[in-house]
Amino acid sequence: MRRIPGAPFAAAPPEAPLLIVEKAKGALVIAAADPAARRLGLSPGLALAEARARVPDPLVAERDAAADAALVERIADWCDRYTPLVAEDGGQALMLDITGVAHLFGGEAALLEDCLSRLAAFGITARGAIAGAADAARALARAKPGSVVPAGHEAAAVRDLPVALIGLEAAATTALMRAGLKTIGDLLDRPRAPLAARFDADCVTRLARLTGLAHHPISPRRLVPVALAERIFFEPIARTEDIEATLAGLAADVARLLEKRGEGGRRFEAVFYRVDGHVRRIAVATTRPNRDPKAILTLFRERLAALSDPLEAGFGFDLVRLGSFETEPFAEVATSLDGRARAEDAVADLVDRLGARFGPEHVLRFLPQDTHIPERRARLVPVLAAAGEEGGWEEAVPAGEPPLRPLSLFDPPEPVEALAEVPDGPPLRFRWRRVLHKVARAEGPERIAPEWWRMADDTLDRDYYRVEDEEGRRFWLYREGFWGHEATAPRWYLHGLFA
């Protein structure tokens, strides 16, 4: 496929051949050539220097692999409008599984025509073919674009195509050509066992796939939604109110579908197909399975309002879809009389809304970890991700004790200069962030040893002290290493602050 040259090439004469070059083995080699160039005999694989010798001034552009891939991605996204099963096929092609969807577009031929003409309107020249087997469609799209082969007739359709289109490695293809097997039909006529023995076992599998005898499913790029609703507009919509009304309708549709399955979704994705081919996906997640259309709409409203890169309607959207993923069984529960279930739901809704607005990674909760190392005792995880994971927090503090762990921890601990009366005693004074603190009270040491199963060579035991300075502020300090055994000059760190 080729994009019709835009602004950068506008100054050049239109008939000048266009070459896309890439570096190969230290030389610039033609990677792609436009029809004008191919008419002049400049084909891919030719060195640029030689091409320049033949045609004085071709238009030359360096190949941008990332941009190519991005373009194919965007086209693949756009192709979602035909079927949810879209797969990338070797970087330059797309495979669409249109089983059961063709009638929505007026038949297979009409679907192909619709797809290619819309792509042409975006300035993209594409070729396509439809067949009952993915491999046959691929070969036909290259050799006989536009063909629509009914299921079961693949063998006849691919008979006179060159063997190169089977998709074997270059060496294997050359071997077949040398043996005089030029077309796929030549291979099909021969018994399979000698073919496999002489050339490649792969050759036989590929022939079977090509003729539809072996099924080779495509692997779609995206998850297929469990419940999906869509709205197609003949008059594209662009106003925010229209978009919201559309989403409300779609949410109600999806909710109905989910209700039939007795499920609720944990993730919803709205896909906006712009008239100019741009596709935008916006997803929201929920803490519990949900199918309340109002709640879903609220989340989308939050998300749309908080997008750093707002939804650009441009000339409008002609297709809007809403799909539900990660569904879980969800029963309509009667709210209990004390309203407790409702309270939990209200908090979950708040978490969902904040997650939609700021991103789920900003709304967190603690999950306990089975360790005694203070900084690893708890893990902060997004509430959305940790829904359902319960951790038990044992009552660690005996009654009547002051807090033995600080309210806040520094990660990493901050080094302090400390002076102790005896090397293995509590500090007398310490300097933290340039302020000198004189210790009035201290308690310790509480020795916390590293876990031997994750001990690196330089991990030392820590002796923790709870200290209060003369101003009445409380700190959690530790000395690293035993004095005299592990460390000659023990280092002190401030690890936390008490309330």
């Binding site: 908090v347 904040l354 603690f366 762990r405 600080p406 806040s408 921890l409 520094f410 509590p426 502020r473």
Partner: protein
């Protein structure tokens, strides 16, 4: 015809009864929505306790008192929240840089089950305030702490007023924790200045429970008051004046913690 009008009159009477009951419940709610802090001087100055479902401002006396003010704010939240109700804490990255990350064990040591806490990490005052209004509207929350450092422009009288209105409507107590705040504006129900107070020494000269030196800088329904010294009693989840010390010099200079036969930490002389 006659029957219809009697029915209508009956419904009207019932409506009036319902309205009266609702108004009564509301009135009772007003009275119940005060939480006692120390059952003493502080509650007297507040006119019978801290009003829940309001906006309260907590300001550390100095930046170094930020941890103490966090502890005090948490104490207020625990007092105001219904038992087991979730508590939401909104922090900014600046706060974590200054005072470190909240430590689950430390929260538990102050009496908050870490499973009750939802922590929201945001950047900048505008998101904190916009999230704050939504949070204050969520009736299912026990209390919310919004931590805002310095004097952000976004925090003006309007935004404080918005928070206050949301809190009043939902009944959620919102505590605005403002380390490094200089400007004093009048949006909140109360404004507290908190400094870390020297804790009551325990045997072996160990530091005691969290102790706060408080001043009531502003109170919508009364004059400023204080100073007071209160300590946080974790076991009963309330503030209390520190008990009088009998003989502070009778304790040895240093002590240490060692596990006893049951594995619990016990104080002993070193």
């Amino acid at each position: 015809m006659d029957g219809k009008s009697t029915a209508r009159a009956c419904i009207e009477a019932l409506r009036r009864q319902v309205a009266a009951i609702e108004a009564g419940a509301e009135g009772e709610g007003e009275a119940a929505r005060r939480v006692a802090l120390d059952r003493g001087a502080v509650d007297a100055a507040l006119g019978g306790g801290l009003r829940a479902g309001m906006l309260h401002e907590v300001i550390p006396a100095a930046i170094a008192d930020a941890p103490a003010s966090s502890g005090f704010a948490l104490g207020l939240a625990l007092r105001a929240a219904a038992k087991g109700a979730p508590i939401l804490w909104v922090r900014t990255r600046a706060a974590a840089r200054e005072t470190g990350f909240l430590h689950a064990d430390g929260l538990a040591a102050l009496g908050l089950d870490p499973a009750r806490l939802v922590l929201v990490h945001l950047d900048g005052a505008v998101p904190v305030l916009s999230a704050g209004v939504d949070i204050a509207r969520c009736t299912a929350l026990g209390a919310a702490i919004l931590e805002l450092w310095g004097d952000p422009k976004a925090l003006d009288l309007t935004s404080e007023r918005r928070l206050l209105l949301a809190a009043e409507q939902s009944g959620v107590t919102v505590i605005l924790l403002r380390p490094g705040a200089r400007a004093a504006r009048g949006g909140a129900e109360t404004r507290w200045s908190v400094a870390s107070g020297p804790a009551r020494p325990l045997p072996m000269n160990a530091p005691g429970p969290p102790t706060f030196d408080l001043k009531l800088l502003r109170h919508r329904h009364g004059p400023p008051a204080g100073p007071w010294r209160l300590e946080w009693n974790r076991d009963e989840q309330r503030f209390q004046p520190p008990p009088l010390l009998r003989d502070p010099d009778a304790v040895p200079r240093f002590g240490s913690l060692a596990p006893d036969s049951r594995g619990a930490l016990r104080r002993r002389a070193s």
